[in-house]
């Protein structure tokens, strides 16, 4: 599942927003490294998901995150 970026729930066919579904063992740093090559950019993902994340260290498996 983590091999391909995923679409968010309710997203229409024209929506170009990029999503990632959190897998077991992932952190925002790991996700940032995967998409940006730089784990230090985790805060970019955190800021883009402030509506669903309270703490960058607390993400849940299956959660869908916007990837700017």
């Amino acid at each position: 599942m983590a091999d391909e970026p995923v679409q968010g729930k309710g997203e229409d066919a024209s929506d170009a927003t990029q999503w990632h579904e959190v897998q077991k063992g992932e952190t925002l740093s790991k996700i940032a490294e995967r998409y940006y090559g730089d784990p230090g950019l985790y805060n970019t993902i955190f800021e883009a998901n402030r509506d669903r994340l309270k703490d960058p260290n607390l993400i849940r498996i299956g959660q869908k995150l916007r990837i700017p």
Binding site: A16, T17, Q18, E33, R34, Y36, D38
Partner: protein, 197 residues
């Protein structure tokens, strides 16, 4: 006897001349009607269905040519044919306009979103100390250049649409979509379903 024949010849000529001039009026009127109708809707129809406009113009020209040769019956038939073609133009142009507008609306919903997503990703990657796996520096530079191109072309497409050049706008939109799909793929982004195929 010779005199009688001469009179008969003159009479026949006069009758045929009369018949001829009787056919000339309706032919002239039919051509004028077709021409007036064509001129009334030509400008709008040319934007959407230039081929059909040309077919109507050709039919009208055939009527005028027949008229010039004095073949009024053929001129009337050709003018009637031209009128029929002209009559179809308005409906055909309206249908084509609706089709192009729908296609444009779909692209307008899709492409600015794709461009914004690519911009966002390029902005973040520009801050990255190291590019992600499967993305070389050259590929990233190419993606940045491509982004500038599609941004510019999309602006041109929008201007073309506002100026009534719907076919041109859609052709530009198509090239933007192809390039945007290419860039998203290079950057490892998910391509929206509507942009596939």
């Amino acid at each position: 006897m010779k005199k009688i024949l001469s009179i008969a010849t003159v009479l026949l000529f006069a009758i045929s001349l009369g018949a001829c001039s009787q056919a000339k009026g309706p032919a002239e009127a039919a051509i004028k009607a077709a021409e007036d109708a064509l001129n009334a809707g030509k400008a709008e129809a040319m934007k959407y269905i230039p081929d059909q406009v040309k077919a109507a113009e050709d039919a009208l020209k055939a009527a005028k040519d027949a008229f010039a040769k004095g073949d009024y019956a053929a001129a009337t038939t050709a003018a009637t044919n031209a009128s029929a073609k002209v009559k179809d133009l308005a409906a055909a142009a309206a249908a084509k306009k609706a089709e192009l507008t729908k296609a444009w609306d779909e692209q307008s919903k899709l492409l600015p979103d794709m461009i914004a997503s690519i911009k966002s990703r390029v902005d973040v990657l520009s801050k990255s100390k190291k590019l992600p796996a499967n993305l070389s520096k050259e590929q990233f530079e190419g993606a940045k250049k491509g982004l500038a191109e599609i941004d510019k072309t999309w602006g041109e497409a929008s201007s073309a649409f506002k100026g009534g050049g719907m076919a041109d706008a859609l052709a530009k939109a198509k090239s933007v979509k192809q390039k945007a799909v290419e860039i998203m793929t290079t950057l490892g982004m998910k391509v929206p379903e509507a942009a596939k195929g």
